[in-house]
Amino acid sequence: MGQENLIEEIRAKLGQAVEDVSESFGDVVIMVRPGSLRSALAALREKPFDYAVLLDLTCVDFAAAEGRFELVYHLYSLSRNIRLRLKASLPAADPTADSITGLWKNADWLEREVFDMFGVRFDGHPYLMRLLTYEGFEGHPLRKSYPWRLAQPRIPLKDKD
């Protein structure tokens, strides 16, 4: 499957879910509608695409009113030794996406990190709590709107059992 055929096949398989297809650094980049994120990833995971590995899941804050948060999924196919980048942009108000912990187990902590740093909520996540910061932390530090010198409120020490 060459690069051209691959794009055609992905378009054929995902249909209306695809917003845009481009290439960057030799890898295919697909923009999908946020509503069909989970189904698109589920389809790409199966043969013939066979993207069995979720390498990374992260987010970018573009600080624009529309499509402010862009989720980025990095997929890797072991059998074909190629990568794929899948993106979906979410609105600034209440950014929410479907959790893909049911597809890849490692998405659990990656989604928690994105939630912690960007405040993107993942529907269906089993335990959507902060991962890197602590309980009582206010705000989401990797948002562009987060003041860089903001002092966090002091929280009391937890009672030791």
């Binding site: 890197l132 910061t133 602590y134 932390f137 530090p141 987060y146 860089w148 010198r149 903001l150 966090q152 020490l157 937890k158 030791k160």
Partner: protein
């Protein structure tokens, strides 16, 4: 010791002398300053010359807490617990710019100086501080111990 059968001193002075030359330190090392700590602790610079060579890896046996490196907000409760576990009398050295003031990390993750969490006796700045500075700080701490009011509850009449 021929010719010297006794000498006189004040109990405070004797206690200070004893304490300043028998510092058991607990290294709370989190970052690259640990390399300078190793250098200061090992044979080349050798803090054992100042009586602080005996490293204890339990805070309950230590009386000098060396906070070496960056302390994040998530680690701060651990540092506080370690400090609380140490027996008195106890002293704290903030080793390196990060422990002193947060250093180059002015962001959401790093405590801007460990004195927001625990009291500090000596600040050793530098990124990282040279071992000579560590020894200088240690000697300043010894000076402080010698001249501070010595707490000796075991001798106090109740």
């Amino acid at each position: 010791m021929s010719g010297l059968d006794f000498l006189t001193t004040r109990l405070e002075t004797a206690l200070g002398w004893g304490r300043k030359f028998s510092l058991f330190h607990y290294p709370f090392i989190t970052a690259c300053c640990g390399m300078e700590y190793m250098s200061a602790a090992c044979a080349h610079f050798d803090i054992d010359r100042f009586g602080a060579g005996l490293t204890r890896f339990s805070p309950r046996q230590a009386d000098l807490l060396l906070v070496v490196g960056t302390v994040s907000h998530k680690l701060a409760p651990v540092l506080r617990t370690v400090y609380d576990q140490m027996l008195e009398p106890k002293w704290v050295i903030a080793f390196g710019a990060c422990a002193v003031s947060g250093g180059i990390y002015q962001n959401y993750a790093v405590v801007q100086g460990i004195d927001r969490v625990i009291p500090v006796d000596i600040y050793i700045p530098g990124c990282p501080p040279r071992p000579e500075m560590v020894l200088d700080g240690l000697m300043k701490l010894q000076d402080k111990i010698q001249h501070q009011k010595q707490d000796w509850r075991w001798a106090r009449k109740t």
